[in-house]
């Protein structure tokens, strides 16, 4: 408990609570269950993708191709459903498979050719985006099969909506929970999870202990692709149509969420809980600013300022903590 109070996650939680209080004073609808559920549903895609990005960032890498990947998978899945089958399970399999393959390509380039992740993913971003837009010409896919649309409307269970009625918790949130749990298990209980932290902390030492860094890289970029594929199918189930241009610039939002969640962009640190809180913080800010009737133009200013302030506070705290450590240098 004491450890949690002092942890980074606590800091983010505090910011979230303060912002929530401010927003709910401004507009009481903010804390209503239906608003919260809408907000969560709208950010499941961001949350699921942040789980993959978390692993990538822990190793000190970055993947800027996720925006292009998720858009490409929505297009592929959409076309697949329109042309072949409206089977929901098949849609998920196709989506995750396509995502994994794209991620694996990134991973292989990064691991085998030792090109920096930001450059490889910049290249694949351009390639995937180009291929997708060439294929679709930017047109939307609207005729998603009924079976899949019905799946998107499913709810898990009902909770009171605070006004006497009941509101269902949408099924999409389940996928975020699953992605978070799987990621947590990978990081906490598997050898490869240890390897991810080790690689982020110090790749040379990690290699000397015997971790196969190439394998870890390929695994984690494939996993990034996998969750991106999952997110793409979930997105389609929410939107019930496919817009090839829906994800322009999305990669930076995913990175922002992970980083706000306390992951160190230089690698070595980051937790699933923190990332979830980071996603929540972004979600609350975007939702709250609308509810507070703050003009749309101000939203970016606030989000940008919060990112800068949050990461600055984090660094200042870390420096402060380092000062209090007794340092023993052995060379």
């Amino acid at each position: 408990m004491k450890r949690f109070v002092k942890s980074k996650e606590m800091g983010i939680l505090l910011i979230i609570i303060v912002i929530s209080i401010i927003i709910s004073i401004g507009n009481s609808t903010f804390l209503r269950p239906d608003n919260i559920i809408d907000m969560l549903k709208g950010n499941t895609v961001l949350g699921i993708m942040a789980m993959g990005m978390l692993l990538v960032i822990i190793t000190g890498g970055i993947d800027v191709s996720v925006g292009a990947m998720v858009a490409a998978v929505t297009v592929l899945v959409g076309k697949f459903m329109v042309n072949f089958s409206g089977n929901v399970l098949l849609a998920f399999i196709v989506g995750c498979l396509c995502g994994t393959i794209m991620g694996a390509i990134n991973g292989i380039f990064i691991a085998k050719l030792k090109i920096p992740p930001i450059v490889v993913t910049l290249g694949t971003m351009s390639i995937i985006n180009g291929l997708m837009l060439y294929y679709t010409n930017g047109t939307w896919i609207n005729d998603i099969p009924e079976s899949f649309i019905n799946f998107g409307k499913l709810t898990l269970f009902k909770i009171p909506n605070g006004q006497g009625g009941m509101i269902g918790v949408p099924i999409q949130i389940l996928f975020l929970v699953i992605a978070a749990l799987v990621t947590w298990v990978i990081l906490k209980y598997t050898l490869i999870g240890r390897g991810i932290y080790a690689m982020g902390g110090n790749p040379v030492s990690a290699a000397r202990i015997g971790y196969n860094l190439d394998k870890i890289s390929i695994f984690l970029y494939s996993y990034m692709g996998f969750v991106t594929g999952l997110a793409a199918v979930v997105h389609t189930s929410i939107m019930r149509q496919v817009d090839p241009n829906a994800f322009t610039g999305f990669e930076l939002q995913v990175v922002a969420a992970v980083v706000l969640g306390g992951a160190n962009i230089l690698g070595g640190a980051g937790t699933v809980l923190g990332t979830l809180l980071g996603v929540l913080l972004l979600a609350i800010m975007n939702n709250g600013l609308i509810l507070m009737h703050i003009p749309v133009f101000w939203q970016k200013i606030v989000v940008g300022a919060v990112i800068i302030i949050a990461v600055s506070i984090d660094v200042i705290q870390r420096k402060h903590a380092e000062k209090n450590l007794t340092k023993v240098d052995i060379e």
């Binding site: 450059v119 490889v120 910049l122 180009g130 922002a256 230089l266 133009f297 200013i301 989000v303 990461v311």
Partner: protein, 325 residues
């Protein structure tokens, strides 16, 4: 193994591409029109790429460069249209506009520099934040629309020619020379490379790395403002998303030009040639009638292939060192 430096490989690529395009479509690619239009288009990406490269050399990245440039453009446009409407003299109007652009860029650069250098946050995060911040401020000014109504004379910066050479190209050449001298001929430039190689060692050798970094971000933003002036003049208006597509392209150009993304290495000429390669490629493919999405695909592929070649090349180099030892 490493007989050629990265820059010379790139020059080779440029020459081959140029000849290839010229052979494939001699009447149109080599026409004065096309050459001139390439010379008009190239400087914007070129200047922004140099702005990006200076930061990458220090081991950072400036994701806010295009949004700070857009903000400069919008402030410039704001001053231009207001003063133009109020009937102030042309000279003062344009001078004020340029000063405002530079001033805005220095404020943007100072914010980046302060947080990166003095607080010590990693550049990618800071500039991610400031990118959103500057975009927000720009949106607040324009409310999403475009600002126009500039004096006619301002048009010259982006569209005029001197002896058939486009003015933007001349500005670009001046920027190249200035950057070349600053980075490769001054003590500050030397320290920029040193910070990129090893900040701790640089600090212990008595260099104030905070000041060096601060100046890097100020210079980067300054170049952004020059690109902004050319852009606003060329489009005769200013809008939030002008130039936003240059962001990742400029990283690609810098890296393609041999700049080490981890910092410490990067030549001005490498970046310039890389920009020229990208320009020849996109103009050439356009003339050949290729879909612009396919051009994107080819750009991405080239980025990866060139880096793969660089990697294989340097691997051979390392191997040689081992044998010598």
């Amino acid at each position: 193994m490493q007989k050629f430096s990265k820059e010379w490989i790139l020059v080779g690529v440029f020459v081959v591409l140029f000849i290839l395009m010229a052979v494939l479509s001699p009447s149109r690619f080599l026409s004065l029109d096309n050459l001139q239009s390439m010379a008009f288009q190239l400087p914007e990406l070129g200047i922004i790429s140099l702005a990006m490269m200076v930061v990458i050399v220090t081991g950072g990245i400036n994701l806010s460069i295009t949004s700070s440039a857009a903000l400069c453009g919008i402030m410039t446009a704001f001053v231009l249209s207001k003063l133009n409407a109020s009937g102030a003299s042309i000279f003062i109007t344009i001078l004020a506009a340029i000063l405002v652009a530079i001033l805005t860029s220095q404020i943007c650069g100072a914010i980046n520099g302060l947080v990166v250098a003095y607080i010590g946050v990693s550049p990618i995060l800071v500039t991610l934040g400031t990118m959103t911040l500057f975009e927000g401020i720009s949106l607040n000014f324009t409310k999403g629309g475009a600002i126009s109504g500039f004096p006619e004379q301002y048009y010259w910066f982006g569209n005029g020619t001197i002896l058939a050479i486009p003015v933007p190209m001349i500005i670009f050449v001046v920027v190249i020379i200035a950057t070349l001298i600053l980075l490769e001929r001054t003590p500050w430039g030397m320290s920029v490379y040193m910070v990129g190689c090893n900040p701790t060692a640089t600090m212990f050798s008595g260099i104030n790395i905070k000041k060096v970094l601060m100046k890097v971000y100020l210079y980067s933003a300054f170049l952004g403002s020059i690109a902004a002036i050319i852009m606003t003049s060329r489009y005769n208006s200013a809008k939030v998303d002008y130039g936003s597509s240059y962001l990742l392209q400029s990283v690609a150009a810098a890296v393609l030009g041999g700049t080490d993304i981890a910092g410490g290495y990067g030549k001005v000429m490498g970046t310039v040639i890389a920009v020229a390669v990208l320009q020849v490629l996109s103009s050439g493919l356009n003339i050949l009638g290729l879909n612009r999405y396919i051009v994107d695909i080819i750009m991405g592929a080239i980025l990866i292939v060139v880096l793969a070649i660089n990697f294989l090349n340097s691997k051979g180099f390392k191997f040689k060192i081992k044998k010598a030892a």
